[in-house]
Amino acid sequence: MANPEHPTEPSTPAGGAGTAAPRKAVVIGGNRIPFARTGGAYAHSSNQDMLTSALDGLVARFGLQHERIGEVAAGAVLKHSRDFNLTREAVLGSALAGDTPAYDIQQACATGLETVVSMVNKIKLGQIESAIAGGVDTASDAPIAVSEGLRQVLLNLSRAKTMKDKLTAAAKLRPKDLAPEAPTTGEPRTGLSMGEHQALTTAHWNITREAQDELAMASHRNLAAAYERGFFDDLITPYRGLAKDSNMRADSSMEKLAKLSPVFGRSLDQPATMTAGNSTPLTDGASTVLLGSEDYARGHDLPILADVVDAEAAAVDFVHGKEGLLMAPVYAAPRLLARNGLKLEDFDFYEIHEAFAGTVLSAIAAWEDEEFCRTRLGLDGALGTIDRSKLNVNGSSLAAGHPFAATGGRIVASLAKTLHEAGSGRGLISICAAGGQGVVAILEAR
């Protein structure tokens, strides 16, 4: 970059037509704790415990003790009601200065990426100089709610003023009201689990069992190789005795994956193809990303790994069967590419979150489908093809696991480091989320 202070060159990427480009926001680095399969090493750790630990590792790595950061944004998908200020509480418990403001975000599995996007936007606007984005989730320490019946009785009791009112309210309690309610991965409007939804999309795009197993195997091998060459040494801090993601199977093979029985899509006409091997398991974990203006990074003698260029969110109507639940990134990507004057082939790395192998392969198939791209995406022809050797090169969620809100931070930090190691190039991130949503983003090497 010619002018590190305030670049005045005319807008290309993020500025929008006719306006001067805002200043850049860069990824300085990241830190996460290893992801653990639910019920494992972090079975008794809360969201706040894990987020604080991930923050502490980031603080230690970049010497941020007692430093006031511009703002910290993080979130969790499965959240206790007592965790209303989860991120601020984690900051208070961390080594960061106590006068660091923080807030929570929740956009299902896109939470982590959305925290990065909103922090980056504040940096670009000059509102803050530094920021930490992050996310955490635990399915082990999940909130259990009292039943709706008991909840209504308790609320009515608290509103009752006289003894008679109280007795009337308490008398409404029924034995079945004492059964608790645990959170589910079911979509509220359809009652289908995320896996059942994806099974419909996987079948629609005729994605084979073999193709899904191949993607899963590549994810495990790429992640294991990345650990092997020390790629995660400055991206991960061990926690609770875990130094690597506990879901990773370095010795995964097509034979082993082929032995697993299908778990989703068993009631469809087509053979069921989705197994525990090519679907992500429930996972616990936390991730953080340190972001800043170029001035901040240079002024604090911190590395600059990548620019966060631009991002786009999309949503699809899955309730009326118009599109698959996890297909929103397919719609977000062409809008993002058009705004930035880029083609799908203009990237050196693709990070497509592996909610299920079928999700990744359905997205790729859709972008390659001329008819789909013309009629659904409004393009002239197919969006393009992805060179599979550039896809999820250091492994993704099938191997690492997927603690919902922590996945975005994992991907942003890993891709920024990958780009920086390559020395040049561009990366595309695509993350699908519950509610038919998705967020995509572009990073550029520094």
Binding site: R189, L200, S267, F318, H320
Partner: protein, 302 residues
């Protein structure tokens, strides 16, 4: 006939049970024609607490406007009052709900006082009994805001004087289940839960025991519960005036899993869901592939 208030449904069911017992004892000759009556109740208020409970059970956001199925439930006792009167020729107990056709002309707020009127029409022979339509109209300050036609079948009741029903069975078009867009898991208490918010305590919906007493092998879900839940999903957002219909096929025995498919008229094609495009829906048993119901929602021109 003006009623001074909306009759209570348990009371009407009591009347129906008494009538059934009396007819059995005295072998009373039933009337053979529909009575020329219209039962009316004016300025019916809506209890906002009941509305909220209804909305939460059916998956509707608790807005201030009334779901179409809620208006049906509100007006249903007036139709029942016609059907349980002495001059009504068909026995109420054991009647089967065949279909519903509703025009919902505008947003109706809970604060409005509603004038409800109900009358029967089109009694006709059906291959397995006699069917009749109940028309219900709901007005607010003289403006027609909602109109529903429910078709019921009195199974095994054949009245003289009605044209012979076509003997041959209608073509049983083979139902091929489409790709589901949703799955409902209905517990054994689904009928009781809907009865609590709708007031429809028909014993065939309440428990296996009360249903068996009326010859059912298990309790069945209220047709209007299924219709209202489907409508909560299928009604295109932002459409305030619409017509909808539902045809009931195999009953839903509780507990049950019901697969649902909701589709815009453009099928899987890309397109908006705003005004001008309706939706179609169908529900079926994912195990047996038997159809439970099907219907559509169509925006009305303003």
């Amino acid at each position: 006939m003006k009623l001074d208030h909306v009759p209570s449904l348990p009371g009407l069911y009591g009347t129906a049970v008494a009538a059934a017992a009396r007819d059995r004892v005295f072998r009373k000759q039933a009337a053979e024609q529909l009575p020329w009556v219209r039962h009316e109740v004016d300025r019916v208020p809506v209890d906002v607490g009941e509305l909220t409970r209804y909305q939460h059970l059916l998956g509707e956001p608790a807005r201030d406007c009334l779901p179409s199925g809620f208006i049906h439930a509100l007006a249903f006792p007036v139709a029942m009052s016609v059907m349980t009167a002495d001059d009504f020729p068909l026995p109420l107990l054991g009647m089967i709900h065949l279909r519903n056709q509703v025009e919902h002309y505008r947003t109706v707020l809970f604060s409005e006082r509603l004038d409800i009127s109900a009358w029967p029409r089109n009694m006709a022979a059906h291959r397995s009994g006699t069917q009749v339509e109940m028309v219900v109209e709901v007005r607010s300050s003289a403006e027609l805001v909602w109109r529903g036609v429910s078709t019921y079948l009195a199974k095994g009741v054949h009245l003289p004087g009605l044209d012979e029903a076509p003997e041959e069975n209608p073509p049983r078009s083979g139902f091929a289940p489409p790709v589901p867009t949703a799955k409902w898991r209905l517990g054994a208490d689904t009928g009781r839960a809907y009865a609590a918010v709708s007031g429809d305590f028909n014993p065939i919906h309440l428990s296996a025991i009360t249903a068996k007493a009326l010859g059912m092998r298990a309790s069945i879900a209220h047709g209007m519960y299924l219709a209202s839940r489907a409508l909560a999903t299928a009604r295109p957002e932002g459409v305030e005036a619409f017509s909808w219909d539902i045809d009931f096929a195999a009953p839903v025995f509780l507990p049950a899993t019901v697969a649902l498919s909701v589709r815009g008229p453009e099928g899987t094609r890309h397109g908006g869901t705003g005004a001008g495009s309706g939706t179609e829906y169908v529900g079926w048993n994912p195990r047996s592939g038997r159809k439970h119901f099907s219907g559509s929602v169509t925006p009305l021109p303003h």
